[in-house]
Amino acid sequence: MSNSIHRFKQGDLYIILDVNSGGVHVVDKIVYDLIGLLNPPLSEEMPEEIVKILKEYPEEELKECYEEIYSLYCDKILFSADEYRQYAEMSIKAPIKAMCLHVSHDCNLRCKYCFAETGDFGTGRKIMTPETGRKAIDFLIEKSAGRQNLELDFFGGEPLMAWETVKETVDYARSVEKQHGKNFRFTITTNGMLLDDEKIEYINREMSNCVLSLDGRKEVNDNIRITPNNKGCYDIIVPKYKKLVEGRVNKDRTDYYVRGTFTKHNLDFVEDVLHIVSLGFDQLSVEPVTAPEEMDYAITEKDLPVIFKGYDRLYDIMAESVEKTGRKPFNFFHYMIDLQQGPCAIKRLRGCGCGNEYVAVTPDGDVYPCHQFVGIDEWKMGTIYDGVIDQNIANYFAKTHIYSKEGCSDCWARFYCSGGCNATSFIYDGDVRKPNKLQCELMRKRIECGIALSVKMRDGFDE
């Protein structure tokens, strides 16, 4: 079958994705079977052998289907060509517009799967000073050139352990953004342990989004997200999250995510998704752990069938609700695909912008391509204090796109994942440009579910 289309069945839907135009077509079984036998260029007449191969269908009906396929082919929304390589080849490094600010390389939890090595990224426990926070703002403003919207995520470790730095950094940015023609959007990623009324009020006022870590059911969460004295954190954080989200919704700030990680120990992660929903949260992201295969909690290829069943079940639950009510019962981050107003093709070539539009800054002011590269010496790009960024690394990431990554240019999902997470590729296979096959399998499955759910949401589309 041509790799310019991807056909898949999800629930009761037969879907054909035209990879290069982004066209999504819902078809019947006969078109689904027929299209799998076609390769461009198509001729006006249906190839004779089709009738012999698809004996179960009447010839007249096959011809009728072929006419429809041919019509869309002529409209260039089926079997359309990939014309984007020229844009990728012109890629140059971009201004920095997003920063992951590691205000704390310390943490008050000892989550067993932590990629930050219990919070310090292997570089010693440190808290960022307010001065460094302010300097990071100056750095971001300077390096953002003409970009107006700037994003800064307070990250760690646990960022609430550096609360004064968080506040002083936000206040400083707010005091200078107008004079520089910038618009700061702050977000925070927290484990919730230190949330109190004052912090909740401040976060709901200043942060455009917040990510609240919780892995789901109490026993699942408390098995892996533990305090230094080996106790679970579920009972401490859940009431705080409820309070924060309630306050947020009251302020019309609906952007938040309760974010969980699932591992080999809870491959029935859909139960955790449903548990989080049962707590009253409706914005969710529950994601597979990123870990080397030798770790006992790591997800391996053998786990894929079970995980795929879970993703199918989650799709069925959400699709059923859409059919009944016209609405999704909750948002699941990995199933959110906007078929109409999604990102432009140019953004889809390079994806996350790591090492270019996006950098991470440590408590000492060191700059790395993203939070997952922090602490790996070879990826250090410079410091916010000298303001000089390693141009070789920046240029390397500028040229890291779906045509320079192994296997992406032939993959139907390339405009949805943009080659996946660069850091994950490096962590698994030691090469940023070599996407990990396991992660690709998971990604493709989620994208299928996401596209199908978007189709369900657009029920009643022009026929």
Partner: protein
Amino acid sequence: MKHIKTVNKANLKETAVKGGCGKCQTSCQSACKTSCTIANQQCEANK
């Protein structure tokens, strides 16, 4: 059409010509932090 229903405008190629303004959110800042997905981002050029 009787057998095929097209769900969207299929305008990815148009966006290549007009795109790349950089106003949109950086994907990793939203929720994932470990599993980059791009298609769930929104274009902000027309907001």
